[in-house]
């Protein structure tokens, strides 16, 4: 089973290295194990996360791409769709039917034709446009909705922290 997953992950890694999408770097933590990746995601321009560089880990199941990886930020990130422990909660990381957050049925789900690149691009959009309808961090969702200025202050702090300033 892991044979096709490994082949696919190697191909995706190659593709991401040859044509890296803007603001994203991703690859295996070490080349001995293609099932654990780390990624660096730049905060999207013209958002309160602009300028930040946020590290994350992706853990792939042995039957990838039939099932999606799990993704977790390894830095602090106060955001409605990221659990306080860093786990990312967006629809593309869930197969249809596997529905802990009750996403809208039209939201894009995981399917084997998706890819790491697609996930990371969705995460960039998520940073730019939080979805407070399905909150993983209720506190962050509430702040985003009711006190945008405070949310942006916290984000600015996170950005500085991510750069080690």
């Amino acid at each position: 089973m892991a044979g096709s997953a490994l082949r696919r992950l190697m191909a995706e890694y190659k593709q991401l290295t040859l044509n890296p999408p803007e603001g994203i770097i991703a690859g295996p933590v070490n080349e001995e194990n293609f099932f654990e990746w780390e990624a660096l995601i730049m905060g999207p321009e013209n958002t309160c996360f602009e300028g930040g560089v946020f590290p994350a880990r992706l853990a792939f199941p042995p039957d990838y791409p039939l099932n999606p990886p799990k993704m977790k930020f390894t830095c602090e990130l106060f955001h409605p769709n990221i659990y306080p422990d860093g786990r990312v909660c967006i629809s593309i990381l869930h197969a249809p039917g596997d529905d802990p957050m009750g996403y809208e049925s039209s939201a894009e789900r995981w399917s084997p034709v998706q890819s790491v690149e697609k996930i990371l691009l969705s995460v960039v959009s998520m940073l730019a446009e939080p979805n407070d309808e399905s909150a993983a961090n209720v506190d962050a969702a509430k702040t985003w909705r009711e006190n945008r200025m405070k949310f942006e202050e916290i984000a600015a702090k996170t950005v500085r922290k991510s750069l080690g300033i």
């Binding site: 044979g3 997953a5 039939l66 197969a95 039917g97 802990p100 039209s106 034709v113 998706q114």
Partner: protein
């Protein structure tokens, strides 16, 4: 039972439900091969003689006048695709008359899917694996085909691609197929939820689309609890003479041989 239930706020019930579902899937996977060897109908009948199900016993007895055995598929929600795919490939091992056309049709599906807006990079991954399998039909024997379909990684790749072919055809002819979908706003939406995801069961619309896309007809013998001793035979498409037959029992497809 319900009175004993105490909600535990510390417990993640979604995770617990998913875990239970995974365990059931694993139990099924351990007990059933993806594609079995041929099993005689006398053996199949034993599943019902012990119980009260005299309707199925009668229907299988009647079936024996035309059919001899079945090849079972794992009950994982992909059984139609796996049964059809296997039977279709198996036929090409011995009957090469239609093989060249089939190879060309399969090959062309990639461009259709990319034109429809599917991501090229991942479509190519599935298409390449699928075409490797189709090309191998020229040289391999039955035993190799069985092990190909029982190699979970490869077997699932084939199922994924068959699902994509169905999705591609439905979307290409969405104006027609929009009349047959219920509960979804668009054919694309239907495909995203009921066709492309692994483990989603198949209905008439999937069968119609796949046989149309590949040009390989199929007949399905439906065994249910209706009256009489004969099962209903449905031919897809209606005016064709299929060389592959599937047996449908409520919720499940196997391959049927005469």
């Amino acid at each position: 039972m319900a009175d004993d239930f105490q909600f535990d706020p510390e417990l993640n019930y979604d995770e617990a439900t998913l875990e239970q579902q995974r365990q059931i899937e694993k139990d099924i996977a351990d007990a059933q091969p993806l594609i079995s060897d041929r099993i005689g109908l006398d053996q199949v009948i034993k599943e019902y003689t012990a119980g009260e199900d005299q309707v199925f016993v009668r229907k299988i007895e009647e079936m024996k006048s035309t059919y001899k055995c079945v090849r079972k598929t794992r009950a994982d929600g992909n059984c139609f695709f796996r049964a059809y795919g296997y039977a279709c490939f198996e036929n090409f091992l011995t009957d090469k008359a239609d093989y060249k056309r089939f190879h060309e049709v399969c090959d062309k599906t990639k461009d259709d899917l990319i034109t429809l807006g599917f991501p090229q990079f991942t479509i190519e991954d599935f298409h390449t694996n699928f075409m490797e399998a189709v090309t191998k039909l020229e040289t391999i024997d039955q035993e190799e085909l069985i092990s190909m379909f029982n190699d979970q990684g490869l077997s699932d790749y084939l199922v994924v691609y068959l699902r994509l072919i169905v999705s591609g055809l439905l979307q290409k002819e969405h104006e027609f197929y929009a009349n047959f979908i219920e509960g979804y706003a668009t054919v694309k939406d239907f495909c995203g939820h009921e066709v492309e995801p692994m483990g989603k069961e198949s209905d008439h619309i999937h069968i119609t689309a796949l046989t149309q896309a590949l040009g390989v007809p199929v007949q399905v013998l439906y065994m249910d609890h209706s009256e009489g001793s004969k099962c209903n035979l449905h031919v897809f498409p209606e005016d064709s003479k299929p060389s592959i037959t599937l047996l449908y029992r409520p919720g499940h497809y196997d391959v049927l041989y005469s």
